[in-house]
Amino acid sequence: MYLIEKDKVMTIADELAKDYELFGPVVEKGTGQVFFNRVANSGEINLRAEIPTLPPKATVFPQIETIMKYRYDKDTKDVLIDPVFSDRKKALFGLRPCDLEGMICLDRFFIGQEFVDEVYLEHRKRMFVVTNTCVAPFKQCFCVCTDSGPDAHEGFDLNLTEAEEYFIVDVGSEKGAALVDRLGLKKAGDEYRKIKKEIVDKSISLFEEIATDNKAWISRVMNRITTGFIKEEVWEYIGNQCFECGACSFVCPSCSCFNIEDHNKFDQSTDRLRSWDSCSFEGYSNMAGDHNPRKPVEDRRNKRFFCKLSYSQSKKYLRPGCVGCGRCQWVCPGDIGLPNVVTYIRKEITE
């Protein structure tokens, strides 16, 4: 555990910028909306900005990207294949703990199983991650219910916690230790463990009622969803409110579904594109031979909540798929963000 003066904290970012492309929370000037985006210099980063609307998952899993180019020559029957990998080194500075948990879910999906997704791996493997403890929750946050905040437990290289006149710096990796060493940060005394705990406890005490109230309920709902005890009418009630826009999946830090399209160009070459997809779309689960295991919208909806909250899925991620960021709540044209779904199911249990 180390300390850095508040006005010096950006020297960490500056140091990283020497070797990495720097990413961080940026407040868009015209609208005040926060994005986790690439910055030209550390001055653009605002560590006190609210949780970014665009999750950092876009840095490892972009909304749309070319993953391969190929050209087929009809005469010679030759195929020229050009795989496209990103070899950029990215430093994510000021990541919120829930978003890091989301990325860890993505890691377990893309590279933690039998098949390793090389495109994702190339995005991810040269990465430096600096998390930022949430000293106060933001509106709609409920990470206390999903064990993903307000402080980060694993997966970071460095973690920052804003204390009185310092940032407390936790080291999470050898890379992180080396950077701290290079910057010559001063060691924090043992009392800072207590100070950090107090900061985190205070943050937890500030959560809105819906989060604290739902805390126990989320695990009960997980139980219900896993065992299939939820009445069909409840799923139908939820399904009727789905506008099939896909937004919940797009803004979710742990949603990993994607679509592959070959875009044929005028010059006879083809770009293979990968883009965000969502299980709320009917075409997503369409199979050859006209079969669709999840045709009605309510079946597609409950699939998503299965993915976020069932034990079987949690075994894959080694944690619940939901990281409690609350983004799905504000982008939903219906009223079926995850906290609300928990509330609907809870209503059914108690009634």
Binding site: E28, T31, Q33, E44, Q63, F243, P333, D335
Partner: protein
């Protein structure tokens, strides 16, 4: 920062979005959290508009048809060619020349296109393309209130207490407005949907009147009649502030409330309860959509009259609200893209208006309203010879054979479109994100859409292109930006007179009327400060309900689907919405007709089996989709297959003109 704020230019809702711009190119989209209309939401189309904007299916160069093929030329050559050809029709331009404007073009481009038609090419034959209903709604509202647009606003949906949705599945057509209605319902507002099908908004409503097809108008009339009979309305207010109630009341005499259940399928008590709630509610709004599945003028008149009677046309959180399906349909009419209009619904045959435009434009305009282009195309003796078309939206071209026979067709557009096959000259123009421009959404909100990327292949923006065409006619138009064009619009248009670029830059748009009296625009139509009296819309009083017969036992209703918007012409340049479209096609390759299980059993057909649909005018083969969303005797078709439209629906032009949301009696047979 890679994300640039702006406007989603897909439908008439006018949501805020961010586009991700990487190396000068679009590479993503994201919703805008504090936009007053969308508040952080986007629909499936808005979430994929970057895929459309990334497309290389663009017109990259001016082209002239030589030996049957389009050959690339310079702008100068193309415009010379166009002007030389068009000059031939100068003498009788008012009959020989026509302009087809686009609801996708910005206000500035539409204004210049309109000015080009009237001032340079001397014709008033200009029609807004791709729409068949919004004008009727505007006429009803203009004649009744003096305001040619939605009298309420999207931002106050959440505050209204009663919402009536007539016909349209607003969650599919304008999803974010549907979302606002749903949120209002969740917060305690009463939402009543009148629709023959159990659409999503019907499922989300507090009450759904699943009426027999074709009985919307009489149901609306019955609501009004009950209000009259029970004296639920404010008689003093009606006496002081309205005129024409007697005629409207007369028309209601044709309704026998004892028979209403038999005609509509809804019992008297349920109707009476809603009539009472509408009147007693402190605020209320009505919504309906325009377009082929929209309503005819009579039905719109009944909605308007019902709300006027209930005292809910204007005022806080009230309003009668037509919804536009395409981004700038409202703005196109505001810019005078109609045979009889100049900007802001000013009539061309009004001498003082004409004089104002003549002196501002330094020209001599014809005071005689032009003709609708589609009427001219439909009339073999019309004498139409030349047609100039802006950004055609649909994949289908109505009157294609007639257009092929024209002597000259010019196409001015952004994306590749089948209309190019009919054109003698093709002229590219910069797309919506490649040029500054204003767009007016369905709630009259004029919003600024800033240039976010450089134009594809250096094609010209409208403010540069249209003056170049005028220049060929030795007319000098002096604009150096879209802002200059907006200034001119504001100077000639009372409802836009207070709108300036600076004001638009500062916030998320201004709702017209914006003038000296309302420098920040008008949230809703204000009844209290409006000294004029309101007029009840004249109605015929005839309620012709289409009836099934033994020859044609089903009543067919039609609508647009979400992913197959405008026959998929735009969505085909996307990936995910296109995939969704294909998923439907995979199941129902011929398109589908929705019928209920009982009807399917009686016909001895199963889901996905092909059937033949016949009406008095034509027939087509489609696949069956068994669904409990329709009642026995009702058939529903979302039209998205080219052949469905060209070979069947367009044959029913008379039905669509007759209105009553185009109910077609049909027979269904197994094949």
């Amino acid at each position: 920062m890679d994300y640039m704020s702006g406007l989603c230019t897909f439908c008439g809702t006018g949501c805020g979005n961010f586009l991700k711009i990487t190396d000068g190119k679009v590479s993503g989209v994201f919703p805008m959290k504090n936009h007053p209309v969308s508040k952080g939401r986007l629909c499936v189309r808005g979430w994929h508009i970057h895929e459309l904007l990334m497309t290389d299916q663009r017109i990259g160069s001016p082209m002239i048809r030589k030996d049957g093929k389009l050959k690339e030329v310079t702008y100068d050559e193309a415009l010379d060619f166009m002007f030389e050809k068009m000059s031939r029709y100068k003498e009788d331009a008012s009959t020989s020349t026509g302009f087809l404007a686009s609801p996708r073009s910005s206000n500035e481009d539409n204004y210049l296109f309109m000015k080009l038609a009237r001032a340079v090419f001397k014709t008033n034959n200009i029609t807004m393309d791709s729409e068949s209903g919004h004008r009727s709604s505007l006429d009803v509202l203009y004649n009744g209130t003096g305001m040619a647009g939605m009298t309420g606003s999207i931002s106050s949906i959440s505050k209204t207490r009663f919402i009536l949705v007539v016909g349209s599945d607003v969650t599919r057509m304008n999803p974010i407005i549907g979302s606002e209605i749903h949120m209002a319902q969740m917060a305690g507002a009463k939402v009543v949907t009148i629709c023959s099908r159990s659409s999503q908004i019907a499922k989300l409503s507090t009450s759904h009147f699943q009426i027999k097809p074709g009985s919307k108008k009489i149901l609306l009339g019955a609501l009004a009649k009950i209000i009259m009979e029970e004296k639920l309305y404010n008689a003093q207010w009606i006496k002081d502030k309205s005129r024409g109630l007697e005629l409207f009341a007369d028309s209601l005499n044709n309704i026998d409330l004892k028979e209403i259940e038999g005609i509509t399928g809804i019992d008297y008590n349920s109707i009476a309860a809603i009539a009472g709630e509408l009147c007693l509610s402190e605020s209320a709004m009505a919504f309906w959509s325009t377009g082929i599945s929209g309503l005819d003028k009579e039905t719109v008149s009944y909605i308007y009259n019902l709300f006027l009677l209930a005292g809910k046309v204007g005022g806080e959180h009230c309003g009668v609200n037509p919804l536009t399906g395409i981004t700038n349909l409202q703005g196109g009419y505001d810019m005078g893209a109609a045979p009889d209009l100049l900007t802001g619904f000013q009539k061309i045959d009004d001498p003082s208006v004409l004089q104002k435009f003549n002196s501002a434009w330094k020209t001599e305009l014809s005071p005689t309203p032009g003709k609708d282009i589609y009427d001219l195309l439909g009339d073999p003796s019309s004498g139409l010879k030349a047609l100039v078309v802006a950004d055609h939206d649909e994949g289908i071209i109505r009157y294609k054979k007639e257009i092929e026979k024209l002597e000259f067709v010019a196409y001015i557009g952004t994306y590749l479109n089948p209309f190019m096959d009919l054109a003698d000259v093709v002229i590219p123009v910069a797309g919506s994100i490649e040029n500054d421009g204003t767009y007016t959404n369905t709630e009259r909100r004029v919003q600024l859409s800033r240039k976010r990327v450089e134009p594809f292949n250096d094609v010209y923006p409208g403010w540069k292109l249209f003056p170049m065409i005028a220049k060929k006619a030795s007319t000098n138009w002096d604009y150096s930006s879209s802002e200059d064009v907006l200034k001119e619009i504001a100077s000639l248009t009372p409802s836009y007179s207070g709108i300036t670029w600076e004001k638009l830059e500062k916030n998320f748009g201004i709702k017209w009327p914006c003038n000296e009296k309302n420098p920040e625009g008008c949230e809703v139509f204000d009844c209290a400060s409006n000294k004029e009296v309101f007029s009840f819309a004249p109605v015929s009083g005839a309620f012709k309900i289409p009836a099934p017969s033994s020859g044609y036992p089903f009543l067919l209703i039609t609508a647009q689907g979400e992913h197959f918007w405008h026959q998929n012409n735009i969505m085909k340049n996307t990936y995910i919405p296109q995939r969704e479209y294909r998923a439907t096609l995979l199941l129902y390759p011929n398109g589908y007709v929705e019928i209920c299980k009982a009807d399917a059993d009686a016909l001895k057909v199963r889901d996905k089996w092909t059937v033949k649909i016949s009406s008095a005018h034509g027939s087509m083969n489609v696949d069956v989709k068994v669904s409990e969303d329709v009642k026995p005797g009702t058939a529903y078709i979302p039209y998205f297959i080219r052949e469905m439209i060209t070979e069947f629906l367009l044959e029913h032009k008379q039905d669509f003109q007759k209105g009553e949301d185009a109910i077609i009696p049909i027979r269904i047979e197994g094949v």
